[in-house]
Each structure stands twice: as structure tokens, then as C-alpha cells.
């Protein structure tokens, strides 16, 4: 693979990682810790929203994040012809 393509592939990889990590940070640290009191004014089922994110919601989001990344990277690997 040429240097230019390699660079492009790596930049796309970094970009998606940064986007997904921002979501990771948002649900766990922002929603569940920094602004938990604000979100607690909303109710989901019988639980306060901030509390729910801290105890269950962020875990569901984590799983989605990883499987999305797997799918995205598999496509990217094929596009740049670096898959196995």
C-alpha cells in the first residue's frame, strides 16, 4: 500500500476513534457524573435518567459503540485493501 493511502487510512481510523470516544465520554462522564443532577429531573420507567445512565444506560451504549467500530473498521479495511 502506498504511503499516501496508509496515511489516509490511519487518519480515518483516528477520526472514528475520536468520535466514538466522545460518545463514550458523554454517556459515562458527562451524563452520569458531571450533569447527573440535571438529568435526574427526567424519569425513565421508575428511575431518574442520570441514575439510569450511571447504572445501566452507559453500559448499553458501550456495547453499541464497539460493535459499530467493528463494522466500520471492517469496511474501511476492505476499502483500503488492508484486510486479511
Amino acid at each position: 500500500m502506498s504511503q499516501k493511502n496508509l496515511k489516509e487510512y490511519w487518519q480515518k481510523n483516528i477520526r472514528i476513534v475520536l468520535i466514538l470516544l466522545s460518545v463514550w465520554f458523554l454517556v459515562s462522564y458527562v451524563f452520569s457524573i458531571f450533569i447527573v443532577d440535571v438529568l435526574n429531573n427526567f424519569i425513565i420507567g421508575g428511575a431518574k435518567l442520570g441514575f439510569w445512565f450511571a447504572q445501566q444506560g452507559s453500559i448499553y451504549v458501550f456495547i453499541i459503540l464497539i460493535f459499530y467500530y467493528v463494522q466500520y473498521m471492517n469496511k474501511l479495511d476492505k476499502k483500503y485493501d488492508v484486510h486479511e
Binding site: L6, N13, W24, G46, Q55, Q56, I59, I66, D77, E84
Partner: protein, 565 residues
Amino acid sequence: MSVQIWTFIIVGLSFAIYIGIAFWSRAGSTKDFYVAGRGVHPIVNGMATAADWMSAASFISMAGLISFMGYDGSVYLMGWTGGYVLLALLLAPYLRKFGKFTVPDFIGDRYYSNIARTVAIIAAIVVSFTYVAGQMRGVGVVFARFLEVPINTGVYIGMAIVFIYAVIGGMKGITYTQVAQYCVLIFAYMVPAIFISLTLTGNVIPQFGLLGTESASGTYLLQKLDMLQRDLGFHEYTTGTKPMIDVFAITFALMVGTAGLPHVIVRFFTVPKVSDARKSAGWALLFIAILYTTAPAIAAFARTNLINTVSEKNYTEMPQWFKSWEGTGLIKFEDKNSDGKIQYVANKDANELNIDADIMVLANPEIANLPPWVIALVAAGGLAAALSTAAGLLLVISTSISHDLIKKQLKPNITEKQELMWARIGAIFAVVVAGYFGINPPGFVAATVALAFGFAAASFFPAIILGIFDKRMNKEGAISGMVVGLILMFFYMSVYKLGWFVDAIPPAGEWWFDISPEGFGTVAMFVNLIISLVVSRLTSPPPIEVQQIVEDIRIPRGAGSAQSH
């Protein structure tokens, strides 16, 4: 049939399965021993990683801790799952592409230095031993309660079992045993949770039961629980008492520590392809999440049940489980005002009931009046959780000794057969030391699980991340970062958790930036990161070959060739 007989049957049967699998999949080469021959399917590996990862602490203690901490307990839930996002996105695929056996191997080669390798070996051994001692103790405690043998006998039985499959089977044996152990532990965790969710909320799925209404009162379970807590003077269940910065620091330290734990990282070396390494991190988290999203439900159910059962009730009317756990000393009742009733309140002077957090999961089936076989199943689940983690850790210790220390540094010329022999000797040594700590637990064992995470966060995580994402990172930077991170973590933990070097453990008010020793790994990690970056920029860049290695691990293709040695 009695609980005792059921326990013998179910625990005995599960052990027979583990040993059978160990013989069936015993290791024939170092590749089998270290990385299970690299033929593990990502879903299978995900399951094995989940069992490897979920220890006695996850199975037995976590729900109980959350039960008492309420919102503050979220640090464990998020911290011990969020690390997998970091693993999948930042570590697993690249380490797999790198294609070596161990974490010190990566550090040693990437930083072209045996000093770096040695620092990594020390960190791996410190992390693994502090962690494994707690597991062996956990095994002993579970045996003691359910088989009614002395704790030490329980530890010996645990040692014998782990010995068989870690020493004979190596990674290959461990992988397939861990799959069986995952099935046992998740089944054992879910059965009582589902039953309790049904009786308490009418919802068959505990995750939804947590959000539902309590059948008896018709109000939302969590609102009811908040009210019960307030009435007794406790903090509201759904809000916390810890400072926000500490909640942040602990969560972050646990996440980064998870991503840096060597026994979890090595699991990603066992799959055939880079894309499989990413996938198996996802599967691992999915399997882990089944337990981790159930735990907060169990915590809330158990708390509600407990308060309803004991508060202001006559001591003489307590159910059988209360009496049998009193016998173990994990429940203590003292009738301070001699009214014959149990006052369970927040005020320490008036409170008459002390409960160890660990019983919340173990006693759950009894509290919910479930049949004896469920109680036996929970015992088998707790043992599966402790044994699978212990085996994974022992393997890290044994490979650190045979591969990183002996083969890579002391005697590079030994044959594969000799190396395999050293790996087994290392495993035997590790089992014996772990057993010793299980029988004679040093005072700091309980504190050391947090310490293990702090160490992993403070040492490995920055070195690995920078090794992949910063081509300019050199050995001077990585070594100084790891050393300073480890020393800083050790210092803070010694003084503020263990009370070494000082007259007394300083009170929480004196913590640096309000951060507890459990969360200090976050600070040590950032200090490591900054020192690494600064030192590396002041010294010469790494050699061209190393920069090429870094380029190479960034693309998935060609992992096949990197794995031959």
C-alpha cells in the same frame, strides 16, 4: 435433598467438567501454552475473556457494594465495563497485529530495551499477585460457607483445581475451561435474579424490573427505596455522597486499569486475525454486560428486601437465612435499646445491625426462599468466577517468568521444550505463592484489588497507548513514565490507604484534590503520560526499525506473518 448435598453434587460436577476440559485441551507447544495456538473463535474468546475478567469481586461483592452505596456504586458498573471500549478501540487490534505473546514482550520490543521489559515484568507480576491473592481467599470463603470446611482447606482445594488446568493446559486449557466457567457463573447469577425480579416486581427481566413498580406497594421500586432510605436516615439510594471529582477519578482509574490489566490483554492475542481481536472485545463486553446490568437490579432488590425484612421487626421472628449468616459472623445484631426489635438506621449509635456487603449475593436465594439447588448453584458460580480469574492471572505470572524473563533475557538459547517446562515451573511457583497469600492474607489484601487497577493504570496504559499512537515515543520517555507512575501510585496507596511511613492513615480530608486512593490511578496515569511525552521530546527519537514497527501495527494485514517466532 439438603443444600449440603446439592452443593456437593453441583460443585463436584462443575469441577469434573473443568478438569475434563483441561485434559482434552492440554498444551503441546509454547504457542498452545501462551496463546492457545491462536485458533480461538472471537465469540468463544469473548466468553473466556468475560469469565477471566469477572472475578469473585464481580460475582460476590459488587452487587452488595452497590446495594449499600446506591448511586456511588456506579463507579464499578461504568468503570469495569467502559474499559472495554478503550481496549477495542485503542489496544486490542494493534497488540494482536504486533503478534507477540505478552504485554512485557510488546513493551520490550517497542521500546527496544530490556530495562523497559523488566519494568513491565515487575508491573505485570505486582498487578497479578495482588489480584490473585484476593481470588484465592474468595475461593476459601465460598468453600467455608457452603461445604462447611475450614477456609484453609477451601484454599487448598482451589489451589489443586487451578493447578491442574493452568499447569497442564496453559492458555489452551484455560480458554476452554473459562468458557464452561462463564456458562456456570452467568446461569448461577441470573436464576436467582430472575426469580427475585418476578416476585418483587412481576417482571421476568431483572434489568427492566429495576425500572418497574414494586408489586406489593404499587409504587416505583426506586422511589420506594429512596423513601425507605430517607426514613431510616440513610442517603437517598439514587443520589450519592462522594465528591464528584472522586466519582470521576475512580471511574476513570477503573476503566484505564481494566484496559491495562495484563491477563485481559493477553486474551486478545489468542484470536486468528486483527478483526477478530476487535470483535472479541465486543463479545466480551456483551457477555460481561449481562451480569453488569443485572447487578444494579439485584442491588436494589436486595436492599428493598433487606429493609422490609429486618427494619423494626422482632429479632425472634427473623427468617432462617438471617440466623445461618449470623453464624458466619457476616451479620451481627446487637440489641442496644433492649426492645427485642431490630433498629437498622444510619445513626451509628442507634444502629443495631451490621451486615457484610458480601452476603447480598450469596444469601439472595435464601432471602427469596428459592429451592436448595439454586443456593448450591450460586456457590458453584462464585467458585467459577474466582477460579477462572485466578487461572488467567497465574498464566500471566508464569509467562512473565518463562518467556519474558528466562527466554528473552537470561537464557535466550533454550529450546521450546525447555521453555514450556519453565512455563509449567512458573505456574507451579505462582500457584504456591497465591495459595500462601490465600491462607495468610496480608492485611492489605482487601485494599489491593483497587491497588492492582491503580498500578495497571499508572504503568501499562500510557506506555502501550503511546507506543501505538505516538511514533516519536522512545524508551527514555516510556521507562521514566512507567517508573514515576508506579512509584507515585505506590506512595499514595501506602500512605493514604495502608498507613505505611506515617503514624496513622490520614483522613479523607487530607486527600490530594479530594481523590481517594482508589481513584488515584487516574492522577498517576496522567503524570506518567506527561512525563513520557516531555522526556521523549528531550531525547533522541526511536530507531527507524522501531518506527517501521509502529507503522506496521497500524494496518491489519499481515498479522499471520508476525506470529511466527
